[in-house]
Amino acid sequence: MKTRVRWPGLIMHVFLAIAGVLCLFPFYWTLVMATNTTSDIYRYPPKFTLGSQLDDNIRAVLENVAFFQSMANTLIVAVCTTVLVLFFDSLAAFTFAKFRFPGRNALFVILLATMLLPAQLGAVPQFQTMAAFGWVGSLKALIIPASANAFGIFWLRQYFQNSIHDELVEAATLDGCGFLGVYRHVALPSARPALAFLGIFTFVASWNDYFWPLIVLTNPDHLTLQVALSSLNRSHGVDYSMVMTGALMAMVPLIIVFVIFARQFIKGATEGAIRG
């Protein structure tokens, strides 16, 4: 286009492609390490091609950590958190977006203010609370505190405000829909893209969470993948091939989810930044 700043095309694409390769290289190198023996990697010059040791490395990972147990735990936490967040956040966001009731504005300002509190600040008392509930070491300690959040409510509320006409809500009400009926038949169907983004975002964040699980998951049988991975790294730090195989195994499900939903996810992520 004429109006844009022009860069010499070829040089530009070389730069963009180098950046792309740098972004993706760690994944390739992880694959190289995971398919070779550690001594192959220790060679100089190092081996840059894929090997055939993947199954041996996977076996070594399985011997050293309860990988599938951790994977199952992570999946349970991520799925439960995502489902609860989608339900609680959309219900609250829809209420804020389309109904009036005493105290609405005050409640909403409180909600916004909560986004300023860094979560790590409260880790000590939160651990005490979990101890009092008897949740230390249990997956509930990860799911329940994360099951509703201000960011999601704020984000969905904007979406509901812009995408659902008030007439639609009124019409549904006149047709005899109760509050939950309007929520189910009007709000949810129209917010699908927004819910998809929030869902993927929550799933990814939950899958990758590390600080809080590290503190609260005290039982070695109840680790999540990230904590299991770091313990693998700590105790077997020299066997890079095995540790990187573990890293690869922990990443694969997320990469698949991302590649399937990439477009929606990137679109959603940028909308938040641009609208503020």
């Binding site: 109006t3 844009r4 700043v5 022009r6 860069w7 530009m12 694409h13 730069f15 950046a19 993706l24 190198w29 220790y42 010059p45 190092p46 609250a92 829809f94 209420t95 804020f96 009036r100 009731f101 504005n105 909403f108 409180i110 909600l111 909560t114 979560a119 600040l121 409260g122 880790a123 000590v124 008392p125 609370t129 505190p145 099951s147 509703a148 409510i153 405000q161 008030d166 929520y183 990814v204 990758n208 590390y210 600080f211 503190i215 990230q226 770091s230 790294n233 540790v243 990187m244 890293a247 690869l248 922990a250 990469i255 991302f258 590649v259 990137i266 992520a269 930044a273 641009i274 503020g276």
Partner: protein, 310 residues
């Protein structure tokens, strides 16, 4: 961003005229909102309020709590490890944020004028951001490793001296910030790209008529227009940067590596609370992190002129 103004709604909840409603008749709405506020009270507000109290107490987690006034903060001021961890955090923040945002801006401007492969680039740039911090930290520790790491292999191949990266104060910082740049440059590129696409093209046409070159156009039109987006990325980077924990913890361990040069404030907080069981002191550290985040956010807001003060 307006907090109170709403669209001119005639809400369905009040659609029936001529009927006065008591507060109890809104119960559905309050019930719909209650999960968030309940969870926030129990797992958000209470812990934070409790931390603030804790900062003025001495407590080992078992015995009785003892009120000690400002003593914890007195210790904090004289604690060289605290100041070191603060210094490390700020240095890491600067070493990672500046390159991240410069690279992101450069890539975004290029990507904006690119016609082909835009979608492919965007996906490639975004992928590092969704990757597990732990897996990425293990990877970066591996390529920076002394004897067999890829970085040293490369240096050797070029005939340059190798470095003991993860056992050197600056090497540790370089490895950590390299990882942060890798994880966040692409994310910020995508955000900037979206910002660039929102700038009306008329302005560029006017600049062209005035005979402005590409650099003048960038600094006089593009950058000022992007200010709110830049502010957003800087604030997000600040909040993230001041809470850096996973990268150094996985790469060099809880002690922070050689000379504790990878020890960040959040790591120090974690150590004091969950290894030393010095909960009051940890509370004081947590409070200082919070104040720091507020301070830096305010400074950024000021420097970049906030919203609506173009």
């Amino acid at each position: 961003m307006t907090l109170t103004a709403t669209t001119p709604t005639r809400p369905a909840g009040t659609a029936k005229p001529g009927r006065r409603r008591g507060i109890a008749s809104y119960w559905r709405f309050y019930l719909a909102l209650s999960p968030f506020y309940l969870i926030f009270l129990v797992f958000g507000l209470y812990p934070v309020a409790s931390t603030i109290l804790l900062a003025f107490q001495k407590w080992d987690g078992l015995g009785p709590r003892k009120l000690v006034g400002l003593q914890n903060f007195g210790f904090l001021i004289e604690d060289s490890t605290f100041w070191l961890s603060l210094w490390n955090t700020v240095v890491l923040f600067a070493m990672s944020t500046v390159p991240t945002l410069v690279i992101a801006m450069t890539l975004a401007v290029m990507l904006h004028s690119a016609v082909r492969f835009k979608g492919v680039y965007r996906i490639a740039y975004f992928i590092p951001n969704i990757t597990s911090l732990v897996a990425a930290a293990i990877f970066f520790a591996a390529i920076f490793s002394t004897n067999f790491g890829l970085i040293n292999s490369g240096l050797r191949a070029l005939g340059l001296p190798t470095e003991d990266w993860l056992r050197q104060p600056w090497g540790i910082k370089i490895a950590i910030s390299t990882m942060i740049v890798w994880q966040w440059a692409g994310y910020n590129t995508i955000i900037y790209l979206a910002g660039l696409q929102a700038i009306p093209t008329e302005q560029y046409e006017a600049a062209k008529v005035d005979g402005a070159g590409p650099f003048r156009t960038f600094f006089q039109i593009t950058l000022p227009q992007l200010r709110p987006v830049v502010l957003f990325t800087v604030i997000m980077s600040t909040i993230g940067g001041l809470q850096t924990f996973t990268e150094p913890q996985v790469m060099v361990g809880n002690a922070g590596g050689t000379g504790q040069s990878g020890m960040t404030v959040v790591m120090y907080f974690y150590n004091q609370a969950f290894f030393n069981n010095d909960y009051g002191y940890a509370g004081a550290i947590a409070l200082s992190i919070f104040l720091l985040v507020l301070l830096f956010t305010a400074i950024n807001w000021r420097l970049l002129g906030g919203r609506g003060r173009r």
